[in-house]
Amino acid sequence: MDLDSEPGESSDDLERPSRTDEDARDGGEGLDPATAVDSGAELEREVGPGPGPGSDPDPDPDPAHITFGRDGLRAGFLNCLPVALGVGGYGIAFGVLASQVGLSVAEAALMSGTVLAGASQIVAVELWADPLPAATIVFTVFAINLRYSLMGAALQPWFERLSPAKVYGSLYFMADENWALTMRDLRAGNARGAFLLGSGIAIWLFWVGATILGAVAGELVGDPTRYGFDFILAAVFVALAAELWEGRSTLVPWVVALGTAVVAAEFLPGRWYILLGGLVAAAVEVIRYDD
């Protein structure tokens, strides 16, 4: 089960000339993609989801060594704990909100335990009204969460050798935060397939626990912005962006995604802009690709 005896190391590391940290930092602006953030740059050649032009998809060394064991589960859980704590801050806010619109503690906990998608749940309880607008709520939740389809699809290069039960079971526990941490771990070449599940379980525990706390405590807790909890998601994504930067090749898709998202956020309701930004950037890359 545990093949990853040397997490973070790979044979390719040995073949490459070693660089100092300073090299990597100074060259961050990127004439050479290999001088981006160094942990990412170190491994991009082998674990980048897309094999470079001309490379055969089969001898892609890293995704082939994907494991699904206790090791990854534990790493995911522990790495996610600080982030899950922040998610808990939000869970309390959600619980308070849910109790204010008349959901019982059990109902709020049920929603957090089964839906496990913070933004959509908060919007859902904001739509809560006496004759329950069921269709509106369900459709809105679907629209807000459609971005998860893209996030899940982005994991495919690593997950393709895992069994459907492991893949779909893990995806149930996927939220924005632990998807981000998982992408980071996979791109670092660790190939720990259970990382998503482990980190998702941490999120689930804190999210459901905090929902219950919030629903019970009612109005006792003020708003999470006081402690900066609302900034954690943005901070996770800024940190991730710093690691995903691969130099110049990243620039076009990112500018396309940013432009699309900012414009779409202006004109479209909900969170369609995330989906649209990702899709347009991917489409542009597909068109630009030259073989």
């Binding site: 989801p49 980071r184 890359e285």
Partner: protein, 113 residues
Amino acid sequence: MTDGALSLDPSVVAVILAMAAVTVLTKVGGIWLVRQVELGDRLEAGLSVLPGAIVIALLGPELAAGGPPEWAAAAVVLGVMWRTENILFALCAGVLSVVAFRALAAGTGLPIA
């Protein structure tokens, strides 16, 4: 806490389960789709830019909706990330600095002052 804390209204439970069902659909749907077809190099190149593109698409409007305190805190996260490559440091620095910058922006001075 009222004694209704454990009550489960059937229609509420039905809506919640429907919400859960469509959410699961979104979470597994994308990867299910790409697992059904053999991906060409071209499509795979598109897929490979997805993580970064999604991150930026989520982040852009979120930061745009914030103000100078959020922008400055984002810069702190970026800076700490670049220097240390430690996500925990970066997150702590980000959260602490957003609280501090917000306090500054509100004109109430630093909480530690």
